[in-house]
């Protein structure tokens, strides 16, 4: 697929609870100019896309939201910016299969040998767009679920499900888990320098320190592998 480097496609996500460091890392800009400093519930982030077109991003975002919907248990894939995580992974070395042995011949084998296909994650998503269909975003949630159920066993859907979990619970440096929404939902505190004084003090009771991201912990920017050259 030819890259269009002059492309300026964006996706907007709620900016609630997003730190200035994450906004900078995403290369995002705030819409709602009346809030100059901190983000408020009404503000949105305009995040430049690296792989998806705006239309493709909306399609994937809608599908991810059915895998991890916002509900009583907590925020969903859309709130957590899962599609931003996926977009960056597909644009980087992972999307181009730089971590996989890709020499031919490609043969079919048993599940115990793992994925043996030729298609890289970018190509699998390209096929996935067609499987979902352009009309997917305007279907009702029930119709969307029925559509996803019909492709549940495809490589694309399995990958999308895996990536949705990753984008929901990754460190915010990778673009997902915005505002640490995923970590807050499950009570995961993120990285810490030490739990030495805590590990034997909370037997049988919840110990839930407020989460910290890696950048907050170490106090300097950290680049993910998705930013390494392809």
């Amino acid at each position: 697929m030819k890259e269009n480097i002059s492309r300026r496609d964006f996706i907007t996500v709620p900016a609630k609870g997003v730190s200035a460091a994450v906004i900078a890392a995403l290369g995002a800009s705030l819409i709602e100019p009346q809030t100059a400093q901190a983000a408020t519930p009404e503000t949105y982030l305009k995040v430049p896309l690296r792989f998806f077109t705006a239309k493709q991003a909306a399609l994937i975002e809608a599908a991810c939201e059915r895998i991890m919907p916002a509900d009583e248990s907590g925020p969903g894939a859309k709130d957590a910016g899962v599609v931003i995580y996926i977009d960056r992974q597909l644009a980087g070395p992972y999307g181009h299969d730089k971590y996989r042995y890709t020499k031919p011949p490609f043969v079919q084998s048993v599940p115990e040998h793992g994925y043996q296909g030729k298609e890289n994650p970018r190509e699998i998503y390209q096929a996935g767009f067609a499987m979902l269909g352009d009309g997917f975003v305007s279907l009702t949630p029930e119709q969307q679920d029925a559509k996803l159920e019909s492709i549940e066993h495809s490589m694309f859907f399995q990958m999308l499900r895996t990536h949705t979990i990753e984008g929901m619970f990754c460190d915010p440096l990778h673009g997902g888990n915005i505002g640490m929404a995923g970590w807050k939902m499950i009570g995961f505190p993120g990285p810490s320098m030490t739990w030495r004084n805590e590990i034997d003090k909370h037997y049988g009771e919840a110990f839930r320190p407020p989460p910290k991201s890696l950048v907050q912990l170490v106090g300097h920017p950290v680049k993910g592998m998705e930013d390494e050259p392809v």
């Binding site: 996989r100 979990i165 009570g187 505190p189 030495r196 590990i199 009771e205």
Partner: protein, 599 residues
């Protein structure tokens, strides 16, 4: 091809064994030593940026990329092998320190009879199964004990002794071979899961003891003067480099000493392709540097210390020794391929209370040796060797890997609101079935050779593994899962949790090993692949002599578990380093004085 100036010793692979040998040589001799390491250099001060599940837990940033080098696998000699395209059942390391930079830190010793296992089993049973390749190592427990102690001091291993010079000590592993000293550091703190597992095992009349661990419990200074802090229980452990250096890694216990010695150099980005040899002597190695230039590095002594499969592959590519043929049982290179026999109770326990499982390390918890070796095995179990059970460690407690651990079938789909709600509710409330790690015995069918089809980035054939579980391992699995279920049931009673049997907390329930189980190259087992260039006391039956010197090429030495004839329930690093000390002593004290075959 450019030929460089000759060095005294060239070491292929800058991991645990190569750098320990380098440290012994650099500090005890004036030889000029060069280590060639394929991967990048590593700085422990950068490791704090590595507390990230996506890059390290999922994309294996510490490991060697399969795109650079992988292996092929088939179940039997009748099939065509396929490449392992993304890592599954094992994960070799890369860069300075190798896999020693990302291990989980379980630091077991093998049982004393393990080094003379063939003699032991023959004495016990009178004969061995026809296809068994069980072999003696060429030395015994009394020969190696002090070297194991040196390895434990180097790493500062935490634990509780169960047998000091024959004196049995309750609370430690009472089944272990005699040890000369108590562990260098005491056992780590206990997490709640560990406290409950200890009680569950004790109530069954078993003797749980603290898992010996390299993730040390307290600040420690080793005999080389290297100081490290105690573990912080941060939970970013196996698969990650330790950000505070509590875990011994070649970059924190060996490189600081090597950097002080001008007779040692390490060259990163050097991918060795061949050992060059002529008339029964190694002349040097050829490698490709980072710029893609092919280089000849002559040396007086060549030491292969790459990971197991790479060491064996270098022998095969360099046409050193006869490849093993299971049909005729002739040839030696590639035989005795083993992994480890790993399983767990197919069950999970759901607790009302949260576990706070983010506080942990991969070597935490308790181990049970009541069924290790031949302890507790009845004739009706139909197996020659058992293994160890364990619990209390929460090594996979990070959120991406742990989310979705709910009983299979608990929700209609494994996506959507019901699944998400149940997964969020049970996150940090689930304990998986108790685990088992058993001896893997060598059989004729399981071996390594060169693949006829698939090649690496230089066009050299990949190593091909032919490996599957035999009837013996099927029975080990049956036995282990039965005992592990008793332990898991006891744990459910002790914890007051709800027991769900069948289908462990796997993210890929469709691969949850139905009997008879096949070797699953796509799902993590351990990174303890062994054999292929085994040691022994006879040149007709082994590639290396009992000091890891090549039988036919006396200036070629090989290090690591490629030399181990069988695979133990215990994790190998302590034994690998002990055997490396033994090899270093032989090389320095005997070979350098009389450069010839030692045996």
């Amino acid at each position: 091809m450019k030929t460089l100036k000759s060095v005294d010793v060239v070491i292929v692979g800058g991991g645990w064994t190569g750098l320990l040998m380098a440290k012994e040589l650099a500090t005890r001799t004036s030889l000029e030593i060069l280590a060639l390491e394929r991967g990048p250099s590593r700085k422990p001060s950068d490791y704090i940026d590595g507390m990230d599940e996506v890059d390290y837990g999922i994309h294996n940033k510490m490991m060697q990329s399969p795109a650079v080098l992988t292996v092929t696998h088939r179940f039997s000699g009748r099939e065509t092998a396929v490449p392992i395209r993304q890592y599954g059942s094992f994960k070799p390391g890369t860069g300075t320190g190798g896999a020693g930079e990302h291990g989980g830190g379980n630091a077991d010793r093998y049982l004393p009879e393990f080094f003379t296992l063939r003699s032991h089993l023959l004495e016990k049973h009178g004969k061995l199964p026809e296809d068994s390749l069980v072999a003696d190592w060429g030395f015994n427990w009394d020969d190696i004990e002090n070297d194991l102690w040196r390895a434990e001091q180097l790493m500062g291993i935490s634990g509780k002794a169960g047998n000091i010079r024959g004196k049995i000590i309750e609370g430690g592993n009472v089944y272990e071979g005699w040890r000369s000293h108590e562990f260098p550091t005491p056992p780590p703190k206990k997490n709640w899961a560990g406290v409950m597992f200890f009680k569950a095992a004790t109530e069954l009349g078993l003797k749980p003891y603290p898992q010996p661990s390299a993730n040390i419990s307290t600040d420690y200074t080793n005999p080389d003067g290297i100081s490290r802090p105690g573990c912080a229980y941060c939970g970013y452990c196996s698969g990650y480099a330790c950000m505070i250096g509590a875990r011994p890694q070649p970059t924190n216990v060996l490189m600081p000493i090597l950097r002080r010695h001008s007779n040692f150099k390490i060259r990163n980005g050097a991918a060795v392709r061949r050992v060059v040899h002529k008339d029964g002597r190694a002349i040097g190695v050829t490698y490709v540097d980072e710029q893609g230039e092919e280089i000849m590095q002559p040396a007086s002594i060549v030491i292969l210390s790459a990971w197991t499969t790479h060491n064996v592959r270098l022998l095969l590519l360099s046409k050193i020794g006869e490849p093993y043929d299971p049909a005729t049982n002739k040839g030696l290179v590639g035989k005795n391929l083993t992994h480890q026999v790993i399983t767990s109770a197919k069950a999970m326990i759901m607790l009302d209370e949260p576990i706070n499982s983010f506080m942990n390390n991969s070597g935490l918890g308790f181990r049970i040796s009541d069924y290790d070796g031949s302890f507790g095995i009845r004739p009706s179990d139909g197996i020659l060797r058992g293994g160890c059970f364990s619990g209390g460690s929460q090594s996979a407690a990070l959120p991406i890997g742990s989310f979705g651990r709910i009983p299979p079938g608990a929700t209609p789909r494994n996506w959507g609101s019901k699944w998400k709600t149940e997964s969020a509710r049970l996150f940090d409330h689930v304990i998986g079935g108790c685990g088992f790690r058993g001896d893997h015995l060598p059989w004729r069918q399981n071996h390594m050779d060169l693949d006829p089809t698939y090649t690496d980035i230089f066009g050299d054939p990949l190593l091909r593994m032919t490996l599957d579980w035999t009837d013996h391992e099927q029975k080990q699995f049956d036995f282990a899962e039965r005992v592990a279920m008793q332990l898991t049931e006891s744990l459910a009673r002790v914890s007051g949790g709800k027991l769900h049997k069948q289908g462990g907390p796997s993210r890929q329930p469709q691969l949850a090993s139905p009997a008879p189980r096949r070797y699953n190259a796509s799902s993590y087992n351990t990174t303890h692949i062994q054999g292929g260039a085994i040691m022994g006391s006879s040149p007709g039956a082994s590639v290396l002599n009992p000091w890891m010197q090549h039988w036919q090429i006396p200036n070629l030495w090989m290090l690591g578990s490629c030399g181990f004839p069988e695979n133990s329930s215990g994790n190998p690093t302590t034994t690998i380093l002990g055997v490396t000390y033994r090899a270093a002593d032989a090389l320095i004290e005997k070979y350098l004085k009389h450069p010839a075959a030692l045996a």
